[in-house]
């Protein structure tokens, strides 16, 4: 049992004791209605899930980027019965099979998870969005990471199931000689259902050097493993955009990738692309975006929103950017030259750009998954940052419409410049107030700090119709801290957040629970 589980058990014991004391002497049924069943139990995590995460590991006495993806099977009763993972760590790449593990879910959807392989046991805090997906933070003393997991569909574990167009976004570092550079690669390809890839296009941004749109070099392929890992775990290998990957299939619409060209390290996902010829008219309406990455090796996170008019014009640009504590809130001056152009080849690539007369130019490349969603890569000098934009609701938002339960994950760096990851759950009331609990892992080479079940409260304060920049302030009771975020409401179920504190960089998302 890890610290997270022990703490949870203690809390539950206290609550049960208080409940028993309150009910003691009642002499039987007090006539009240039965309490509602818990929203989440161990049975909520049941089946086979694919996960992916990236973070910082302690290696040779210092922090080092790493990534892991894989799959685990939960039995609905607190046991991990099977699984496999690929890791890309400072000593190389490895494939490790899980011999077992444990998990424990709280009623609010938070829980602890441990995965055991031949090298030992790794520990995680998870927050379920639903029984089909959740967020994860690694909580070991020498490793922190954050990511997501989704229930797999084994019916998609075949080459034939992977067919049609896919849009991808890979992020990490590329090592050439003695140079380690931040890297972002986005693009699209068609899988033919038999292991071949055609119509591959990509744009890379390596330490600010842009490739321009490129076709895939020769040697591109995808292939489910034939040694049993393919059919059992949904694992396969691929060559995409000239790089080698292992992948795990979530379902035919979503695949998780990890780069295997060690010492380079890439992590990302591919999403099934809608089968249409994209053009400028594909983009219409309001969009919210969230990207993160590095600028000259320093962390940067950017969130915002814009409106596209289906004719190449952009309006109503609002942006919050935190670049290693340097905070830029757009518009500062006047936004000019706001425009986009979808590539004429119909494959969904395109350009997006605007200039703030004070803050400067923001330039992006995107690949459309559909008219309502795209991967997005910033292309301004020195900045290597990527993520997604997604259609934003046109319906005015109120705190009443946003009330409910949310799972969340934030990642970034703290004031000392080291990675910090948070996962938790909160309940928003109809006035915008909220309370909840979070787990965190604050990395350090000397003593990393894991905090479990930290009480949080705060307020979501909407501005105007709620579709612009909103204020989301979070107070952590112990250790005492206050986080100031700007929140961009995507719709009634999703919120993007970026921290505007000057002593840290954090970004993440909140997703409504059922």
């Amino acid at each position: 049992m890890n610290a997270r589980t022990e703490t949870t058990v203690s809390r539950v014991s206290i609550v049960l004791a208080l409940f028993a004391a309150a009910c003691g002497g009642g002499g039987g049924n007090n006539g009240g209605p039965p309490p509602p069943p818990p929203k989440f139990t161990n049975a909520s995590l049941s089946g086979q899930y694919a996960f992916s995460m990236s973070g910082t590991e302690l290696c040779a006495g210092q922090g080092s980027l790493f990534a892991r993806i894989g799959t685990f099977t939960a039995d609905g009763h607190g046991n991990i019965t099977n699984g496999l993972e690929d890791v890309n760590i400072c000593t190389g790449t490895e494939i490790l099979q899980f011999a077992g593990g444990r998990y424990s879910m709280d009623a609010d959807g938070r829980g602890s998870l441990s995965l055991t392989n031949s090298t030992g046991t790794t520990n995680y805090s998870i927050s379920l969005v639903s029984s089909a997906q959740g967020t994860v933070v690694q909580t070991d003393a020498t490793v922190t990471a954050s990511g997501t997991f989704q229930r797999q569909n084994p019916a998609s574990f075949s080459n034939a199931a992977i067919a049609g167009g896919y849009v991808f976004d890979f992020k990490g570092v590329e090592v050439v000689g003695s140079t380690v550079d931040p890297a972002s690669i986005i693009g699209r390809f068609d899988a033919d259902g038999a292991g071949a890839i055609v119509n591959g296009l990509y744009d890379s941004n390596i330490a600010g050097t842009l490739s321009g749109q490129q076709t895939f070099p020769t040697g591109t392929f995808y292939r489910m493993d034939t040694n049993g890992d393919g059919t059992a775990f949904g694992r396969g290998t691929a060559n995409i955009a000239g790089r080698n990957f292992a992948f795990y299939v979530v379902d035919a619409a979503r695949i998780k990738f990890i780069g295997t060209d060690f010492p380079s390290e890439l992590l990302g996902e591919a999403f099934a692309q809608q089968n249409i010829a994209f053009n400028d008219s594909s983009l219409v309406g309001d969009y919210a975006f969230l990207i993160d990455g590095l600028n000259s090796g320093s962390p940067i996170a950017t969130s915002g929103r814009f409106t596209a008019d289906r004719a190449g014009n952009i309006a109503n640009v609002i942006v919050d950017e935190n670049h290693n504590g340097a905070v830029t809130l757009l518009p500062v001056g006047t936004v000019t030259g706001a425009a986009y152009a979808v590539d004429t080849n119909g494959f969904g690539g395109g350009l997006l750009q605007w200039t703030d007369t004070t803050a400067g130019t923001f330039s992006f490349i995107f690949y459309l998954i559909s008219p309502t969603q795209a991967v997005l890569e910033e292309t301004d000098s020195g900045i290597v940052s990527d993520g997604m934009f997604t259609a934003q609701t046109a319906t005015p938002i109120t705190t009443t419409s946003m009330a409910g339960d949310y799972a969340f994950v934030w990642t970034g760096v703290n004031s000392s410049g080291d990675e910090t990851d948070f996962a938790g759950q909160l309940t928003l009331d109809s006035s915008g107030g909220f309370s909840g609990l979070l787990d965190s892992n604050r990395f350090a080479t000397t003593t990393s700090t894991q905090v479990f079940d930290a009480l949080i409260n705060g307020n979501l304060t909407l501005s105007g119709n709620g579709l612009g920049a909103n204020t989301f302030n979070v107070t952590e009771v112990s250790p005492a801290d206050t986080f100031h975020f700007t929140a961009y409401i995507v719709d009634q179920n999703r919120i993007f957040v970026v921290c505007t504190d000057t002593n840290r960089v954090l970004s993440g998302r909140l997703t409504r629970q059922p």
């Binding site: 080092s64 070991d140 003695s178 380690v180 068609d190 000259s296 605007w354 004031s415």
Partner: protein, 177 residues
């Protein structure tokens, strides 16, 4: 409309019109694939990077800063995140950014008031305040590279450059993966 995108869009529209005339406009689904394979995949030129808008490290502006440490913190409340030293120079006190504290600790590098130091880096403005972004820090005979020659912080990437022998040693030391 932004001139760069405007130029590109004009070209794109021309290409689209030409394609329509030639009957090769991209179509949805399988037809699209056939059309594209038949005429070779179209690859569009992307725009060059625009000038940095934030405090990106510009190696062309590097300078040397020497002085005496009057303050040092590994987790300050000011941007950029990371360790900062206040260094007294002939022209006044300068805030020097040294990147993640954990990286400095791993390299057994710390500073104390009164120590003589030398940095190579660039001056920048962050949240309206001047800061010297150090690429190389030197105290006595101890020299630590904080950034790559292109200015990227080495903090989390340095361990990707271990030798084979170092990797083998690390692997032998174990730890759950």
């Amino acid at each position: 409309m932004n001139p760069k995108i405007s130029r590109k869009r004009a070209t794109a529209l021309l290409s689209w019109a030409t394609a329509l005339l030639l009957g090769t406009a991209p179509l949805a689904g399988g037809a699209q694939e056939t059309a594209v394979q038949g005429r070779k995949t179209q690859v569009e030129a992307r725009p060059a990077a625009v000038p940095a808008r934030a405090f990106a490290y510009d190696a062309k502006r590097e300078s040397v800063l020497e002085g005496t440490v009057v303050g040092y913190t590994e987790g300050g409340q000011i941007a950029p995140t990371g360790a900062h030293a206040t260094v007294r120079t002939r022209s006044g006190d300068v805030d020097v950014h040294l990147g993640p504290a954990s990286y400095l600790q791993a390299n057994h590098f710390s500073l104390a008031a009164g120590e003589q130091v030398r940095f190579v880096g660039v001056n920048a403005v962050v949240n309206g305040k001047g800061v010297f972004l150090a690429r190389i820090a030197q105290k006595g005979n101890q020299v630590v590279a904080i950034r790559s020659p292109r200015g990227s912080l080495l903090a989390k990437g340095a361990s990707r450059l271990l030798t084979e022998a170092e990797r083998a040693q690390m692997k032998q030391q174990g730890g759950a993966r």
